[in-house]
């Protein structure tokens, strides 16, 4: 227990990085995922095909592979850099690219299932008053679709919090990698340290589940 208390600032710092990874890639995934969903329901076959291809490739590739590709492929081989001298900042953003690319594929499918719950008549009525395809989507269909899928989007965010640990594979010092490091320096306190980190993740995920359930009920569209 002592080790956990002594290292508390370090542990909290690692979780702060986990939170930042989650928030930034969560926001990017939500936006990109909605754009992908819009592509997949668009009247243009090219956009539908591109969206389907993206989703099926990204959703069926292990996240570890994607993150390692971002670190080595984008970072090392293709020399994508976000900072000249700060290596940790570089791997932070490269892992965000990987996490967002992966999570957005799931967001797309959740949003698309939400779109399918919106009765066809809603879009017809929108088109009948002269709204364009994009206006119909933005003003009528998506607001209803997203409200019906708040709970599953919450589950995705929950999964994303835990998935940020894969960023450890390219050296991002988030909670999981920090835990491994602390094991090395406190070999006598492995179980307390493990329990401390596990509790940290539960503190992040549990309130989120409660919140998304409550939000889903409050924003539900009554038909």
């Amino acid at each position: 227990m002592e080790a956990v208390v002594d290292e508390l600032p370090v542990i909290l710092g690692a979780f702060w990085l986990t939170v930042r990874l989650t928030v930034v890639s969560g926001v990017i995934s939500l936006i990109w995922g909605i754009v992908l969903a819009a592509m997949r329901v668009s009247p243009l076959p090219v956009l539908r095909g591109a969206g389907a291809l993206y989703v099926n490739v990204l959703r069926n590739t292990p996240l570890t592979l994607i993150i390692v590709f971002c670190g080595l492929g984008l970072g090392t081989v293709m020399n994508v850099q976000f900072s000249q001298d700060d290596l940790s900042l570089n791997s932070f953003w490269l892992s965000i690219i990987g996490l967002s690319a992966y999570t957005s594929a799931f967001v797309c499918e959740v949003v698309r299932s939400g779109i399918n719950t919106v009765p066809l008549g809603q879009a017809e009525a929108a088109r009948a008053i002269g709204l364009t395809f994009l206006q119909t989507l933005r003003l009528v269909v998506l607001p209803q679709a997203v409200r019906t899928v708040i709970a599953p989007l919450g589950s995705l965010l929950n999964a994303l919090i835990k998935n940020t640990t894969v960023a450890a594979a390219i050296g991002v010092m988030e909670a999981a990698l920090r835990m491994k490091n602390l094991f090395d320096s406190h070999g006598d306190a492995i179980i307390p340290i493990f329990l401390g980190f596990a509790a940290g993740f539960i503190v992040l995920t549990l309130p989120l589940n409660l919140l998304s359930g409550r939000l889903a009920r409050r924003l539900a569209v009554v038909r």
Binding site: G121, Q122, E124, A125, A128, G130, V140, V221, R223
Partner: protein, 251 residues
């Protein structure tokens, strides 16, 4: 009723054909609707009435033929099609009010987003229209909180808010409880009297007699007969129409 100009119809359908898979739902349709005219379309279910209504604002595409609206052929897609639709109101059987928006927001969405009218002005006009259809007190409620009749009147106000050149009614009272049918028909009769160009698919023969300038009888995708309502209901020309009328009028 206002003067009807036969020489320059608002809508003209020429040799329009439409299939749903193997089903030939519209067969060589020839039809004109004059400015200010109220045309009621009746016929057995599956006769293509609703489809006829829906091709006019291109919610359904056609396979062949031409549709001229206000002197121009219907645009195929894009901005021009959206503009056409903003000029043709549509009232649906199932109301289709936007579930996530209040009644007033339903009425003002088109004016604000399509016509780019300032919100305040759109809301003022929206309230006038809700007043006109008799549901101003429901303005801040959501569609699910209203009765069917109130929802349909809100849908009519939503169509009117775009100042359309014509309104299409696709079985507007078929989904309503019987006691709510009249309040919707009253609003429609008022519109007809004010000179709105209307095409109404309905089973309400009372409304057809009272408000229509012309009745179009459809069966099996064809226009079988059309004419003056009083003549049509008393002495239809075709056996098909006589048969249909005997089934709906004799009980």
């Amino acid at each position: 009723m206002t003067e009807i100009s036969a020489s320059d119809p608002l809508v003209r359908l020429k040799a329009v054909n439409k299939h749903f898979g193997p089903l030939h739902v519209l067969k060589d349709i020839e039809l004109s609707v004059g400015r200010g005219e109220v045309v009621v379309v009746i016929g057995p279910s599956g006769s293509g009435k609703s489809t006829l209504c829906r091709v006019i604002n291109r919610l359904e595409t056609i396979d062949s033929g031409t549709i001229i609206f206000d002197g121009r052929e219907l645009p195929a897609e894009g901005k021009a099609l959206a503009r056409l639709r903003s000029e043709v109101g549509m009232v649906f059987q199932s109301f289709n009010l936007f579930s996530h928006k209040t009644i007033l927001e339903n009425v003002t969405l088109g004016p604000i987003k399509v016509r780019k009218i300032p919100r305040q002005q759109a809301e003022q006009r929206g309230m006038e229209l809700l007043e006109r259809v008799g549901i101003a007190s429901q303005a801040s409620k959501y569609p699910a909180q209203l009765s069917g009749g109130q929802q349909q009147r809100a849908a009519i106000a939503r169509a009117l808010a775009m100042d359309p050149k014509m309104i299409l009614f696709d079985e507007p009272t078929s989904a309503l409880d019987p006691e709510m049918v009249q309040e919707v028909l009253d609003v429609m009769t008022g519109l007809a009297r004010d000179g709105m160009t209307m095409m109404v698919v309905t089973h309400e023969m009372g409304f057809a007699r009272r408000a229509a300038n012309r009745v179009v009888f459809m069966a099996d995708g064809q226009i079988v007969e059309e004419g003056d309502p009083s003549e049509f209901f008393t002495q239809p020309n075709t056996e098909r129409a006589r048969d249909f009328l005997s089934k709906i009028l004799t009980h």
